[in-house]
């Protein structure tokens, strides 16, 4: 696990650099065991930085979320680097963003965190209800929870986020400074749940997704948190033409989710943020992983692995499989 003292030292050094304007990391949250993003602009603010299994969010989204407000005439844009802390999974978002030329490589400074997994906060809150303030640490294969002056140890398997149990890339695939020793791959995705879903009849599948999508309240959290959804002007928001209406009903919700899944085909890097933030618990990764698996099997392609790679859906080879075309 990353040593938090070392983390702060590195952060102090980085934010003091002339060519760095902002450092995005984690700090303790305001409730329970949670952690939240920290935006560090000067070295005084580094003391609050942490990394722990509570640091679930994918900070790479902030690189593309940051609004470029119009500059008054004569004002030069601040093009200094933004430093960002990323886990293995999050780092793939940076890679894919670079593949898609979302920004220049020289405009970011990557602080890589080799990661042994983060918790599923919902499971943690179930296990320790009503805790106002606490911390989580990882020791070997256990999670250590400290709160109200006591410590409790739980095998990590019980409370780990589902995505971590399928994680193929625990060590960041891109980094300028690696904050800890590399972590070997300790898990893989066997897609068993996808296979089970594929085995169902069309009617069963439709019934399943109809129920899921009918609960969607169209809060757009899944889109907003997604590191790969960063169009300045999302087609699903457009009024001319209207691809999906604003109305919250099964038909429009379905259009919304299917469009999003298609737009992520060959691009989704499996950070699982969409599913994590969904307030009505729609299993969105079931859709995204189905595409991920198809892309992997059909084209031998995993997005977010190599910066030099061309985006899957903008390349063509005559040997591409096309037997799925009706």
């Amino acid at each position: 696990m990353v040593d938090n003292a070392k983390l702060k030292d590195v952060a102090k050094e980085v934010i003091s650099r002339e060519d760095v304007r902002l450092l995005i990391g984690y700090r303790p949250g305001t409730y329970g065991f949670r952690a939240r993003p920290a935006f560090v602009e000067n070295s005084d603010q580094v003391d609050e930085l942490i990394f722990s299994p509570a640091c679930v969010s994918n900070l790479s989204s902030y690189l593309t979320l940051e609004e470029k407000t119009p500059l008054p005439r004569g004002v030069e844009p601040d093009l200094r680097k933004v430093a960002v802390m990323v886990k293995g999974c999050d780092s793939r978002a940076l890679v894919q963003q670079l593949v898609e030329k979302a920004y220049d490589r020289e405009h970011i400074l990557v602080l890589g965190i080799p990661c042994r997994g983060v918790v599923d906060m919902a499971k943690v809150e179930n296990r320790f209800p009503g805790v106002i303030s606490g911390e989580i640490a990882m020791e070997g294969d256990n999670l250590v929870f400290s709160f109200d002056g006591k410590e409790e140890t739980v095998p990590k398997e019980e409370l780990l986020a589902e995505k971590c149990k399928r994680c193929r890339y625990p060590t960041p695939l891109i980094s300028d400074l690696l904050l800890d020793d590399e972590v070997e791959r300790f898990a893989d995705d066997d897609y068993s749940d996808i296979t089970a879903m594929e085995g169902k009849s069309t009617e069963e599948k439709w019934a399943f997704w109809e129920e899921q999508f009918s609960r969607c309240i169209r809060c757009y959290s899944c889109r907003n948190v997604c590191p790969m959804c960063y169009c300045e002007d999302c087609v699903l928001d457009r009024l001319k033409p209207v691809w999906a209406r604003r109305s919250v009903d099964i038909s429009e919700n379905t259009v919304y989710h299917i469009s999003r899944a298609y737009h992520l085909a060959g691009r989704c890097i499996q950070c699982g943020e969409c599913e994590r933030v969904c307030p009505v618990d729609i299993p969105l990764m079931l859709l995204n992983r189905k595409f991920y698996r198809d892309v992997e099997e059909l084209y031998d392609y995993e997005p977010g692995i190599k910066v030099e790679e061309k985006p899957l859906l903008s390349t063509f080879s005559v040997d591409d499989k096309e037997d799925f075309i009706l």
Binding site: T69, P70, E100, K101, A102, Y230, E232, D233, V235, P311
Partner: protein, 677 residues
């Protein structure tokens, strides 16, 4: 075009092609009720002069500003009706066609349902036509020169025609000499004139023609640009011989330490050459080339005390320091004439090609029977791939003359098991010719030909086939299943399918009439020019009947066997066709560029470059713009290059790149009409 759309709808009967399954009257009635439709009419043949006159009259008298024609596919007649609109003074892009023939009447039987569908198609065209915008057709100048890739008979003929018309031609050939496969042939069917005798004058012509720049031993590396303005980069491989100094005397080849040790490609490996060589005596240009893989000095850095060739060359032409040279030039049009490969008979292991010396392929046989070939035209069993026998043995035995020769047709053609379903079109005739030549040279030889069908379709072909049969050559209808050795004879196992008799046929030599295949290096040109292939993997023409020499890319044409197997007359005919197509562009000097191009909304483009990658015409690039003070990258379309294929708009996630006349706002209402009701 201001004010409300005033739409005219014109519904064609196409004789009974449409009227048979679509109630045209009902569609007319329906169309007249649609919003903004001022007039709806039908006519027996809308594309005829009176049909078009109807439209022009209505535009003039009723002030129509939009036209829908419900007839056939736009592929044939969209240009016709665009011209009609121009005649009436309307922008030609205010036209929308509803395809109620190919997509309706031809594919349906039920008249009631067919009529309903036709109504929907018409309505969808009406909702689109109201949203169309006027577009401007631009013209660009054409560079008055042509590039021809491949200098076989097709490339040579096309080059001569274009050059004779007064345009500059760059003729690029990969090998050291022009001539291609035709130069390897002995006699040509059905007239039996000597291939070299009719070809070499043309070879000399291309070398001497003032308008032709001949680039042999050269390869096209890159082509960018578009019709009228292609930029070409050619690599002139180093021959290590200064072609300006080389006199072609051949003194170098005689002294080469590798002389007689390297299989000569021109003789299909049956003859030998040295590391410095000329492929054949009539090669054009008559300049020597050093094969750097086999040259001792170039591959090992040492050739005895010093390279003998250099000493022998009085002209001082040999220079081991010579490097590849890159030549760049602009052309207006391109003809691809890259030819074919012969089928590799090793893919049919049952015929034991490559196992027995006396099983040869037809091109090898062509070299054996040729007076300029390695045996001086004596048909003997070739000794190859083996160490030279002791001299005494050879003297004792002498060359073995086969007295019984068997030909097998359709090797690698009409054969699904090797992936070639097509007929190679030349094998029946060249087999008959080769059989005839054997009869000429070894009068007492027994000759048998195994065949599936004999296809003697050309002028004088059937007559020639008849003549050969009368010469006592035995045709057995059957596809042999195996060739094996028994004693010093080969045995061909087959079934005579006319008498249903299995047979074992003993013979001295088997000639496999191998078919023609797409070149193994065909991808090089595909990658450079983005050509398409047909299922047989030959390059695809734009239309199998009406545009047989065009490709899908404007300004790029096909000639010869790269488009499909052809005999010499057909290859020459197609070459002349391609040359004439190229000359239309060159002579007019102007070319119209697509108006339905893509356009980028720079305010929403996120500069991901997906469109840049998918564009088959390299028409899009990323450029930096200033967006409210921030430098951002966005896509930009070069409208001269854009062909309006729409690949970019399909790839764009944010819908920021749209194709004119096919914008989302124009197509979605169509889909709504077709799908929602």
């Amino acid at each position: 075009m201001n004010g409300r759309p005033k739409i005219g709808v014109y519904i064609c009967h196409c004789g009974i092609n449409i009227a048979h399954t679509v109630d045209v009257d009902e569609v007319v009635k329906f169309a007249s009720t649609l919003p903004d439709v001022i007039v709806a009419r039908d006519y027996r043949y809308m594309c005829s002069d009176p049909g078009q006159a109807l439209i022009v009259e209505d535009i003039n008298n009723m002030g129509l500003n939009r036209v829908v024609v419900a007839s056939c596919s736009p592929r044939m007649h969209e240009p016709t009706f665009r011209k009609t609109l121009i005649t009436a003074g309307l922008n030609p892009y205010f036209l929308e066609m509803a395809n109620i023939r190919e997509q309706c009447s031809w594919v349906h039987e039920d008249k009631i349902a067919g009529t309903e569908k036709a109504k929907r198609l018409v309505e969808s065209a009406v909702v689109k036509v109201r949203r169309l915008e006027p577009l401007e057709v631009k013209e660009v100048d054409v560079e008055p020169s042509a590039l021809i890739i491949g200098a076989g008979i097709a490339g040579i003929q096309a080059a001569l025609d274009i050059a004779d018309a007064g345009f500059k031609v760059y003729l690029v050939e990969k090998t050291p000499s022009v001539g291609g496969h035709m130069a390897q042939l002995d006699k040509t069917f059905p007239t039996l004139d000597c291939s070299a005798c009719i070809l070499t004058p043309k070879m000399v012509d291309v070398a001497n023609h003032p308008n032709i720049e001949l680039l042999t031993y050269s390869q096209v590396e890159d082509i960018s640009g578009y019709v009228g303005n292609f930029e070409v980069k050619v690599r002139k491989k180093s021959r290590f011989v200064d072609v300006d100094k080389c006199t072609g005397c051949g003194a170098c080849a005689e002294v080469c330490r590798q002389a007689g040790r390297i299989p000569n490609e021109f003789d299909e490996g049956l003859g030998m050459r040295g590391a410095i060589y000329i492929p054949f005596p009539q090669a054009v240009p008559a300049k020597y080339t050093i094969d750097k893989e086999n040259c001792l000095f170039l591959s090992r850095g040492k050739c005895g005390e010093s390279p003998k060739c250099q000493e022998a060359c009085e002209a001082g032409a040999i220079n081991f320091e010579l490097q590849d040279e890159i030549v760049e030039f602009k052309v207006g049009t391109i003809i691809v004439a890259t030819g074919f490969d012969i089928f590799d008979a090793r893919k049919k292991p049952e015929y034991a090609y490559g196992v027995y010396d006396n099983v040869v392929n037809a091109l090898e046989f062509e070299r054996l029977v040729s007076a300029s070939g390695p045996t001086g035209g004596n048909v003997v069993i070739p000794q190859r791939g083996k160490k030279k026998k002791k001299k005494e043995d050879e003297e004792e035995l002498g060359p073995v003359i086969p007295k019984n020769i068997t030909f097998i047709q359709c090797v690698g053609s009409r054969d699904k098991s090797v992936g070639n379903e097509y007929c190679s079109r030349v094998c029946c005739m060249y087999t008959a010719k080769q059989a005839h030549l054997v009869k000429d040279k070894i009068p007492d030889a027994e000759i048998t030909i195994f065949y599936m069908d004999v296809r003697a379709f050309g002028k004088g072909y059937e007559e020639f086939y008849d003549r050969v049969r009368r010469e006592g050559i035995r045709y057995i209808r059957g596809n042999p299943s195996e060739i094996f050795k028994r004693g010093d004879k080969l045995v061909v196992k087959a079934e005579d399918t006319l008498t249903a008799t299995p047979l074992e046929h003993e013979t001295d030599m088997v000639v496999l009439s191998v078919g023609l295949e797409p070149r193994s290096d065909r991808r090089e040109i595909i990658d450079i020019l983005k050509l398409s292939s047909s299922p047989d993997l030959f390059y695809l023409e734009a239309h199998p009947k009406l545009r047989p020499v065009d490709t899908a890319t404007d300004g790029i044409f096909l000639a010869g066997c790269c488009q499909g197997p052809k005999d010499i007359p057909d290859a020459v005919g197609q070459a002349k066709g391609a040359a004439s197509a190229a000359m239309i562009l060159l002579a007019s000097g102007k070319v119209k560029v697509e108006a339905q191009t893509s356009v980028v909304d720079e305010a929403t483009c996120r500069g991901c470059g997906f469109c840049v990658e998918v564009c088959p015409y390299s028409a899009i690039e990323l450029v930096e713009i200033n967006r409210a003070g921030w430098p951002v990258m966005v896509a930009r379309v070069n409208e001269a290059l854009c062909k309006g294929c729409g690949a970019c708009s399909a790839a764009c996630l944010s819908g920021s790149i749209q194709q004119r006349s096919f914008r989302d706002t124009q197509i979605l209402p169509q889909i709504e009409v077709l799908g929602v009701k």
